[in-house]
């Protein structure tokens, strides 16, 4: 069983985001990037399922500029067997990325499409669902437990009301939530081995995808700041302060 795992290069989660003073975006130049953490979890799950013998081949895939090769190399170090780089520079909106990913998934004849539930840069939370929709496949988003069994998957999902379990026919799209697993640390020998694994370069045109109109960002601004309040010394002072604001 082949699995395609979508990985995205994003500003590292530890970086303090700075909005450019001219409102044209956030500062991404000279800032540490790494694999979107939710995609790491998706990648780890695919590797664990391969270790259990449920998946036979893992193909990592990304959509983005030349620098995304390093993200694919990380995915290969995790345990992907090979990678596909849909090489396109500039801003790529989720629907366009989903069209390219769906085309590649179909071309590969894979059974499972794994991705993180969202990327921590645009926080869109769209791509996995869109891939499923474009291919009329089942989707199991926000997964916290995945079991593959023959031609179906049983997936537990983190929903607002608790934990929902779905059974889906394969092929299917599964997106990873935080508690699905804890990704491993990459070891040097695996990082070295990853350098020799093949990356197939594709493009929107090679996959027959035409980017649509999409959203136009007109301004990026910093969120309003909360100002620091007062420190009270005792519980009585706290109760009085809350009563003073009509909160108790």
């Amino acid at each position: 069983m082949k699995a395609l795992v979508s990985v995205k290069r994003a500003v590292d989660y530890n970086v303090r985001i700075q909005v450019k003073p001219d409102g044209s975006g956030v500062v991404t130049e000279g800032v540490k990037h790494s694999m979107n953490p939710f995609d790491e979890i998706a990648m780890e799950e695919a590797v664990r399922l391969k270790e259990k013998g449920k998946i036979t081949e893992i193909i990592a895939i990304t959509v983005g500029g030349a620098k995304n090769e390093e993200t694919l190399r990380s995915a290969l170090a995790f345990g992907a067997d090979r990678a596909i780089h849909i090489k396109e520079e500039g801003e790529i909106q989720p629907l366009t990325a989903a069209k390219a990913l769906a085309a590649a998934f179909k071309k590969e004849g894979a059974q499972v499409f794994f991705a993180g539930k969202q990327a921590i840069d645009d926080d869109a939370n769209q791509t996995g669902q869109m891939v499923a929709s474009l291919l009329d496949l089942p989707q199991a988003t926000f997964a916290s437990k995945v079991e593959l069994d023959g031609n179906k998957a049983t997936v537990t999902r983190e929903v607002d009301a608790g934990l929902e379990t779905l059974e889906v026919d394969l092929p299917a799209v599964i997106t990873a939530d935080l508690r699905l697993n804890e990704p491993r640390y990459l070891k040097l020998p695996d990082i070295m081995k990853a350098k020799k694994k093949p990356i197939d370069v594709q493009s929107f045109s090679s996959l027959g995808v035409t980017p649509g109109a999409g959203l136009k960002t007109t301004k990026t601004s910093a969120p309003p700041k909360r100002s620091k309040g007062i420190v009270v010394k005792t519980v009585d002072e706290l109760v009085a302060a809350l009563k003073g604001k009509g909160l108790l």
Partner: protein
């Protein structure tokens, strides 16, 4: 003029509180606001939706396949129903986030996620980087605009409406490739976290699930919802649906009391819109104090029971 379709979320025959907030965003866009209730029998839910002020009409789409509100089953029906609307809005819950992109891709529309402000019928503000930046986006009006609404950014629309309820039928092929198995719901008599006016949250410093009792005691005295930090959830003190933060629930209560929570960026992203934040922590340097309106440095095991006794 705009014509906005709002997709209703409901469970156990009751309308979700998320819907009246989504209606507020629809009203901000202007024009007609139509709420669609997909259910096995949507009459009771539709009657509730009809009472939300600003709603022009409520449509029920009854189908046995709508029992569990699965995205795969709902999407083809919404695609059909959306014809003739200028906007389709979904609540920004796991229900809406799962479903909206499935509809958007079918309509070949780039979705606007997490709408936090409506600037015009085609211009919206939305957060990126966990709310550390806000972008203003312009969406193409044709064929339609589709988005999810960030609940913490909108007040619930008032009650007092009396919209007409009509039944609608759509012809759509509903796939059978996705089957509901079960839902392990956390039953609680406390106010629901996302709609509670007051929320008390505990963090890693509680050190055990037994110790969380002092959090529940204070919450019950205040008639508050109970939340937790990611650290407390990951340590197994409380279930995951109590997590407040970027990867959990984003909330906007009138009063938020953070107890034994240091205030990681992840957590702060979930409470930015709270009206008043109170922090109780023994570490005076904890980042939570940078955003708290009222801070109290002290041992939570002494401070919290004392506070419970005095409110």
């Amino acid at each position: 003029m705009s014509k906005v379709l709002v997709i209703a979320q409901h469970a156990d025959g009751k309308l979700s509180a998320a819907v009246s907030k989504t209606v507020s965003a629809a009203v901000a866009i202007g024009g007609e606001v139509v709420v669609a209730v997909f259910a096995v029998d949507g009459a009771a839910v539709a009657a509730e939706a009809a009472k939300i002020a600003g709603v022009t009409k409520v449509l029920t789409v009854n189908n046995a396949a709508n029992e569990h509100l699965l995205a795969a089953a709902l999407a083809p029906q919404i695609v059909e129903l959306a014809k003739g609307y200028s906007h389709v809005l979904f609540p920004g819950t796991t229900f809406g986030k799962d479903l909206a992109p499935r509809v958007a891709a079918k309509l070949d529309v780039q979705q606007v996620s997490d709408i936090m402000a409506v600037n015009s019928p085609t211009s919206f503000d939305r957060p990126i980087y966990a709310g550390n930046a806000i972008t203003t986006v312009e969406a193409p009006a044709s064929p339609l605009i589709l988005g999810t609404v960030r609940l913490a950014s909108f007040q619930a629309a008032a009650q007092g409406g009396s919209a007409a309820v009509e039944s609608a039928s759509v012809s759509a092929t509903i796939p059978t490739h996705t089957r509901f198995v079960n839902l392990e719901a956390q039953k609680s008599d406390r106010p629901e976290l996302q709609s509670a006016n007051r929320v008390v949250s505990g963090g890693r410093a509680l050190a055990s699930s037994e110790n969380f009792k002092i959090i529940y005691d204070l919450a019950d005295k205040l008639r508050a919802g109970v939340g937790a930090s990611r650290a407390a959830v990951d340590s197994g003190y409380v279930p995951n649906d109590m997590q407040v933060g970027q990867t959990g629930k984003i909330i906007a209560p009138e009063l938020y009391i953070a107890i034994g929570i240091s205030g990681a960026i992840q957590h702060l992203a979930g409470i930015k819109d709270a009206r008043t934040i109170v922090a109780i922590n023994k570490d005076a340097e904890a980042p939570i104090f940078e955003v708290a309106d009222f801070g109290l440095v002290g041992d939570l095991f002494q401070v919290v029971p004392e506070l419970t006794g005095k409110v």
